[in-house]
Symmetry: C2
Subunit: 674 residues, 2 copies
Amino acid sequence: MNYTKCWLDYKKLPEEKIRSSYSHPVLLASGEIAETAAKEYQMAMKEMLGESVEVCYEIMEEPSVCMEVDPEYSFPEEKVKNQSEVILNQSFVIYEEEESVIISGRTEEALLQGVFAFLRMVQLDNLWENLPYCCIPSMPLRMMNHWDDMDGSIERGYSGRSFFYDNYEILYNDRTEMYIRLMASIGINAIVINNVNVHEKETYLITDVYLNQVKQYADLFARYGIKLLMSVNFAAPMELGDVPVSDPLDTEVVKWWEKAVAHLYEVIPNFGGFLVKADSEGRPGPFTYGRTHADGANMLAKVLKPYGGIVVWRCFVYNCGQDWRDKKTDRARAAYDHFMDLDGTFDENVILQIKNGPMDFQVREPVSPLFGGLKKTNMMLEVQIAQEYTGQQIDLCYLIPMWKEILAFDTYGEGEGTTVDKVVSGKTYGQTNCGIAGVINTGDDENWTGNDLAAANLYGFGRLAMDTGLTAEEIATEWCRLSLSDSDDVTEVVTPMLCGSWAAYEKYNAPLGIGWMVTPHYHYGPDVDGYEYDRWGTYHRADLHGIGVDRTMKGTGYVSQYNEPWCSIYADMEQCPEELLLFFHHVPYNYRLKTGKTLIQHIYDTHFEGVEEVEKMQQQWATLKGKVPDRAFECVEERFERQLANAKEWRDRVNTYFYRKCGIPDEKNRKIYE
Amino acid sequence: MNYTKCWLDYKKLPEEKIRSSYSHPVLLASGEIAETAAKEYQMAMKEMLGESVEVCYEIMEEPSVCMEVDPEYSFPEEKVKNQSEVILNQSFVIYEEEESVIISGRTEEALLQGVFAFLRMVQLDNLWENLPYCCIPSMPLRMMNHWDDMDGSIERGYSGRSFFYDNYEILYNDRTEMYIRLMASIGINAIVINNVNVHEKETYLITDVYLNQVKQYADLFARYGIKLLMSVNFAAPMELGDVPVSDPLDTEVVKWWEKAVAHLYEVIPNFGGFLVKADSEGRPGPFTYGRTHADGANMLAKVLKPYGGIVVWRCFVYNCGQDWRDKKTDRARAAYDHFMDLDGTFDENVILQIKNGPMDFQVREPVSPLFGGLKKTNMMLEVQIAQEYTGQQIDLCYLIPMWKEILAFDTYGEGEGTTVDKVVSGKTYGQTNCGIAGVINTGDDENWTGNDLAAANLYGFGRLAMDTGLTAEEIATEWCRLSLSDSDDVTEVVTPMLCGSWAAYEKYNAPLGIGWMVTPHYHYGPDVDGYEYDRWGTYHRADLHGIGVDRTMKGTGYVSQYNEPWCSIYADMEQCPEELLLFFHHVPYNYRLKTGKTLIQHIYDTHFEGVEEVEKMQQQWATLKGKVPDRAFECVEERFERQLANAKEWRDRVNTYFYRKCGIPDEKNRKIYE
């Protein structure tokens, strides 16, 4: 089995960087997670020092690295302000005491995080300048969603097959352990191990058919302080039991779930809970029985509550049988329309998981208005680390800048400054069941993520969830130094390349927020009209005069789902942020943008520029030959070739499409095919 | 196992129609096909008379139906003129002698055909007016191509799964026997039992893995006078043997085939030969080794020759990795460009199988120029009974009128009057290895063809191949009377409905010969730009000014592949048949057609009319409730519902697409969505 260690591939430290304390780890805590912390310390130090170190279980005279759990530890006043106990229990501090270093967590989980942080900083050679280092995680829940199916395929997976399943069997091997170490090292504390689309065989995951093997995972995850959750089929009582319905208010249904959950917790006492995609894209749900999503979610929540389990309920609910002729129905409105009226009706252990935008992980979308709407509901932000619409881990698209923008978006939910970050971290409304979820981009490819550079998104997701204050550049540089090379030569190329890649991708993709010009089903490569007459509610409405969807009050009225001032800003073509112009307005090709360019010229220009930027990235990467591991170099080199071909296809198809439609030539007279 | 008997579902004759001779069949021939003829006679008469009849083996005193083989039978002089022995040996005559009827064939095969013809005419109640009835088949080879795969699926199958294979096993049951009776009854004399795309497992069909089961088929087919052929993988020597290449000039390769074929004929002495799709859409072929298609075909032909086998070699060879930007490469040119230079170089037992048009079974294409080009090569016309691009047996599209047009097309190959019919029947150049092949539309659906009315295409293919002089109306009426109801009430509705259905389908499909506005891969339903930027060489080149592909000498030069006067006619926008206008020319939307309408108005009008015609067909069908079998009524009723939805989708998408592109409103102000 081949796999890399990604950012946990610790390199030997230069002699002058080695402190004597490193050789003397002391563990002043007991429990399996504490043992994990010590084990991780040992594994890392073996690589960094070049020799094994013994763990001591009591305080030493000599300088040491002391790992301790201190439930009473008092963080500095200014850091504790407005923080919940839940968050504080995940927090740790690293400080010097004479020549020793103390890593202190309020809990074992926090200690393990402290050890990973310590090791990272030692490897990055920035430990001492950062001490004392106090870490209070930004989000209570930092969750991975796997879209792995039990046949071994991964829905929207771009890096091989599942390492969880093959041919309806559960795998368990040393790759599983490497995986959980990677997850824990970036702060993940919850993982959903199966696809939200729960098919026939996957429905059995919560039964004895698979439960003992799932337990193996749960136990492993637990040793790393991570909860295991599963996606469930809302129709399970019908498919697995002999209950004739799945009505959440039916007592037989409730009894069925009670029994199933009781048994589940008997086998896996530390089980985390359920993720549910209901009434969406063909999945069953409460609508069938005239019930609300609150009825559905609360039913499961009540069943899970005695065991401390949670229900994560997805808000990705919309009509996927739309008629393209219908210009009033607007998919963008769907999540808000479905869930806003239910605010305040969900149980305490229900979390609504809300995609970052109102559509579906396009390269550019406005932020979902639900984050500014819901106030009495637990919320989790869902982003997609897997690059379904953003290059499928062939094209480079570093997503941290996008996620930073989303987190920084001011919803005005409680007046100015109510950023998404504050909403989903619980800081605005005081929730503790909240946070961020990422649809993971891993598979059984040797490098885990297809393109080596796509691992920066995986790493970055965790780091950002732990600390939303980190910049995209800081995360990129950290990842690059840990994963590719510690040399400035490399980071000086890779960091700006990563940080500019989303913008480059956006340039050669669908223009100004309109999205969806992709090959249907596959979602890679251009097909401008691919979804234009389809049933998915994803239209650009281009004609000979202009393009875009009118979502103002004269159009679908979607703008009204935003708090002011956004409602007015988005509704006004002149004020609307231009990167979202076509999402909110149908705009003539000769409309002048703030740059002074016409819309059509902007489309042409950005599409030519996008290709040029890819060519530049490709050239820059070529300079790294010999400076990064050969395997990674070749992998990325090959991806850049495919990306360049893709970017050219996007450029030519989009430009030709619009040139054929409007007949306006490129002012710069570049080649546009007729 | 449920299946209908289609047109072999003989009904009891009214008493006054029964002749005493019917009860006295006499068989004056021996051999297994002759026995089949007698058995078919008995089966049919049991239904038509309501009682069993005994076959007598010598001439009787009483009036009888006498079945005989007479190798010396002399057909009337005017019918024999220019007919080859091969054809005459397939001919039969039915005539009265006193109160008896004599069915006389030159061979057993011919006798069997005579018996089927006799039984059909008795059932249709038109026997006596037709006697003496002399039948000399129009085509020497009347072949079915099955695109069945061994997993049980059928490529481009629209009526269930394969009845030949399931899960890589060969099926044999009473359905197989019903199938071969249906084929023989319409004059089919050769069947290729597997898909031209020969995948891994199917490659083994010619080996001992499957050969004994294939033999069962071959033996059954033989009893009905039908040859069994198989599609083969040109790379079989590499995939099955340890030959490192498949170069047709490599002696190891030749040896491999010699050995394989020798064994094949050892097991199946009456084996018919091979069908080969080479160097096409990813299939292996001689190009890999720098050899020609003649090298490839002749190598196999020489191997098969000692056993009397033939090689049917498909001309569907084109570049399926084209660049949409490239306006010079023209897929329409490909077959002619590949094969024309090879004229005269193919062995006597090689037949080139040429699709009716230069593209791929679109609703409207010009006739392939190869039929007017090749003169020293055996040719077979390939049509698609399966309605891949013509409604997939959901939409009604009776194809006999299309095939009649193709057969009647004057190629001018040997001056005026050199119709495709004459070319592929061998009448023009004197070949005997030639004829017509149809990609069959059957599956394991109860009614064999999905839509009951699609069986008219199956029946009609055979009837037309036997007698290209039959009109589309005659065939439709025959089929309807045999399959649905003998009542005039029914035929008066069904015959015109069938005969107008292709025109109706064409109206709501891609306009004026341009084709390809279908959903990629599936090929059902509209997607105007679906293939426009793809790699398949199938473009419409629509922009804001006009639409169509310039295939004149100023464009791709495709017109030059036709003999005069076609070359000039097609090249001239004013003379070009309008149903093919956009195939040959890029035409402005405001161009006036001969009707006085602009092109764009024609597009709008035909698309509204197409839907209206479907509505009319649907209403007409509704009047047949109770007049045709309920099962058939309901099946077709349900198909018409789907067809109407499809036609509306075509109408709206095509009209909206062009309205958005050119902005010209409908003169009649009907609803076109914006």
